[in-house]
């Protein structure tokens, strides 16, 4: 019965992120992706992506507060296994934390367990989001927003104290259909 579709959804599956790069759907609900994965994706792409992530030991962790420290991330994520490497996401210009990081484990199983048991729980009193990642590469630690942080923090309309208050570019921009994904640091 191996390989059969489970009767309940698995939480250790990669999100639709990789595919959504090519087929970006317009989203009107800007927080839709945080902590709640969007499952609309195409079968064939899903297979490609899973091939890629079958041995992944790295997680992308999103929705951190700018003030969350490496030590806090270690403390929480070590509950799923020893951490091999931790790379904090930084503002491209100020080199200060901008709300995401990469956690690399020694084993794929630890990364999966982290998806299942830690993704969607709180760190520093914020619900964090985890996603399997094919592995950190130099350069991906930097935010890709116009002003240096993550894109989602450019256009955020709500006031988020942990992430620098209002979006930095909110002033003129309110067009609907913009993609608010916190996709900085992620593969393109």
């Amino acid at each position: 019965m191996r390989g059969q579709r489970t009767t309940v959804e698995r939480l250790d599956r990669p999100s639709a992120y990789f595919n959504s790069n090519k087929h970006k759907k317009r989203r009107f609900d800007k927080d839709q992706r945080d902590g709640d994965d969007d499952r609309n994706r195409q079968q064939s792409e899903q297979q490609d992506e899973e091939e890629h992530l079958r041995t992944a030991t790295t997680l992308y962790v999103g929705n951190l507060s700018f003030y969350t420290t490496e030590e806090q991330v270690y403390e929480l994520f070590s509950k799923c296994g020893e951490i091999k490497r931790l790379v904090m996401g930084l503002d491209r210009f100020t080199k200060t934390p901008c709300g995401f990081c990469f956690v690399e484990y020694y084993t794929h199983q630890d990364a999966l367990d982290s998806m299942k048991f830690i993704g969607g729980t709180k760190l520093d009193e914020r619900i964090i989001r985890t996603d399997l990642d094919p592995g950190f590469e130099e350069g991906r630690q930097y935010g890709r927003g116009k002003s240096g942080g993550q894109v989602r923090d450019e256009y955020r309309e709500d006031y988020d104290e942990g992430r620098g208050g209002l979006g930095r570019a909110i002033a003129g921009e309110k067009s609907r259909g913009r993609n608010y994904d916190d996709d900085d640091g992620r593969l393109r």
Binding site: M1, V8, E9, E71, Y74
Partner: protein, 841 residues
Amino acid sequence: MADLDRRGGGGGGYNSKKRRYRDDNDDYGPRGGSRRRFDAPPHVRVRKQLIAIAENPMRPWHEECQAIANLFTDNWDDELLRSNFVDLVLQLSVEQPLKTPFLAAVVLIANADKPEVVDMLLAKLAGLVEKNIGEGEWRDVKLYLKLAACLQGCLSGDGVFPVLEELFNRAVDLQTASSEDTIGTEIVKIILLTIPYVMATGSPDEWTQKAADLMEKTEIIAAEPHALQALIEPYHPESGDENQQQTQSLMSMLQTQLQAEANSGWTLSCLPRPWEFPLKDVEQQSKVSNAPKHALPTIKIPQTVVAGSKPLFPEVYISVYSQQDVESVPPVTSVASSLIRDALLDSINILHFNRNVTARQLIDLDCYFAPRTFAPRATPFDRLREIEPPKSTWKPEDVAVDAVFSQLFLLPNPEQKLVYYHSVLTEACKLAPAAIAPSLGRAIRYLYRNAPRMDLELSYRFMDWFSHHLSNFGFTWKWTEWVDDLELNDIHPRKAFIIGAINKEIRLSFAKRIRDTLPEPYQVLIAPEKELDVPSFKFANDDAPFAGEGREIAALLKRKAPDEEIDTVIQRIQSQAIDREIDALVASTDVFVTSVLYVGSKSLSHVLAAIERTKDRLSDFGAASDAARTQIIEAVMAYWSIHPGVAICIIEKLLNYSILTPLTVINWALTVKAGKTLGHALALQEVYELVFNTVVKVTGRVRQVVVKVNSPDGMSDDETLALETKNMRALFVAIQDALTGWATGSKDEIIEASTGDGKSLTEKQVQRWGQRWLRVFKRRSAIEEAFLVEAGKEKERRAALAVETSEGQAQSGDVEVPDAPVDETANGNGAAAAATEGVAA
């Protein structure tokens, strides 16, 4: 007071698409079911409805089961539906086992119209039981047998009894062969847990004698306590503790409960009987009972059975709601305690891949057992007293929480990582805060009260869960109720718990935040320095010895100066140290390590980078002498004393670099640090964590090598294994030697400082800490030895099997795959061996 709108929550894990047509014909039932948004094909609808079976408390079981059965039999010609149905029933019974009786009811009803479906199902079911017995996947064996037992009503002959009897014979063989056998015990457990489901199928009288015969036989095995049981007891009471309540082995408890149940005519009042129709449907009922009977295909059980992927240990029953004046969970005298617990634990451990669904099923647990088994949901504990018998006072939330805690406090280890059980409790608390939170509160109070008599490992699991749980709920706890315990000395287990828990909270958050959550009397427990991000550098103060040299090295490290420049300063420290008649290696190690830590103080990445750059020199220091190596740890722990989590992390990395050895860590913690503090360090959470993590690292390494040695691709490296095993044993010996001194009060430090008779309060407390530590690591050691023995057996078995297979094949000449492959890899080897022999011939 059932939570009526909970379908809207949709089990958390279901996506919105699913939810849309999941309820297609029951949401609008009263109005004729005519408002379906679209007609999904029958196989899709049957799938949705089967998966969601019994989730809706408002829908009578017999109606729901009948509706699904009808939908299925009405579309019998749909070939896809036919095969999917059987597979899905089988899959659900091992994936969502709480639903098994309801699935069985659907099958029993369908049997009246299309008896063929039962034959299809039984054929596959028998094959799966056989396959899982062969692989030693005992839980799946149990769950498939549970389905078979629920189908007993449509089985001919003695139904599942012959299988149970055959299984029992194997158990006897195993138990006779070895008193340390755990597979036989597991088999007997499965038999005992299957019998009640047979007895609940309608006509218990028919099977009473069969059950009695079987139980008479199982008694001998069930009553026998297992050799390892003493080590896995959750409590470790002090000698002289009045509360010497012995936890009962699950097996003997189950045997007694079933005996009692048999004596009272197998009422089994907690089990659901969805195949029973209300009186007005007598016609339907007789249709189902008169439906054709089917023979359960023979299930072959191999002569030798194996342990499978999950290590087996004896089990004990634990409840955090014992000792209450009102029974909020089933008492250990009732078979309901075992049956409900067993069903919940299977669901919890199987559904690890979606904790939201696990939590949902726990909250909904009253949907899966007989009506009136529990008190209404969310009844406050105080109101249970007002419930008049014979109504139940069992609080569903308590039963659910109790089941999760039983895993959190399972020795040696639960099936999943501990953090999984944390996450289940977090989700349950999020789904039904008003119902779950008070139950957790009472559990916390029970555990806190019993902290002194708990096994130390479990005590720390409690602390770890407690701090992690609070971090998900704004760090709110009624600390005021423990205020009186602040008067206790710091090594009292309860005070140590408070201190440790607060420190753990700070590690997940930050000192100022945690300070704000604590009442005034607790404020002293958070030292003001804890609010500093970066510790102070002791060489910034000129009074410190070697202050100038320390600052100089830090400056050199910062500008990444060449090694020679640092060498000069180190030599200067060493010659000064010799003049002052102190250990030159220790002094220079301390200055250098402290400077590296200072340079890397900004974050863990910084310090790890600093260590990476200086690792050669650190290795040299570490290799210079035992004292110097110990000084490395001393310097790390001293520099990061305000944030011990960082220190532990750094030491872990130093172990990875082999700059430190595991023995150094043990020596520092249990001899140096414990010695300096007259044993009080044994009460510090960070010291335990350091030692425990180190041991886990070493034992994990041995296990890794074992897996490699046993792997089929010939990566055998017995030498590495022998070396790693030797190191591990040496480590355990060192730990036990050091701890025995503390446990018996014979450490030099204690004897020197003793006020005389060794009977002072703190001396006794320290001894008790020593004993508790000792028990943890004796167990760890025993578990690893047991693992090595099992691994050795497994290796022999594989080798024997490979030879057997190749011989058999060489003789017969054709490659025949056995019906029930006992072990794929071994068969692979055998086939390869046969192939080469064939070439030779």
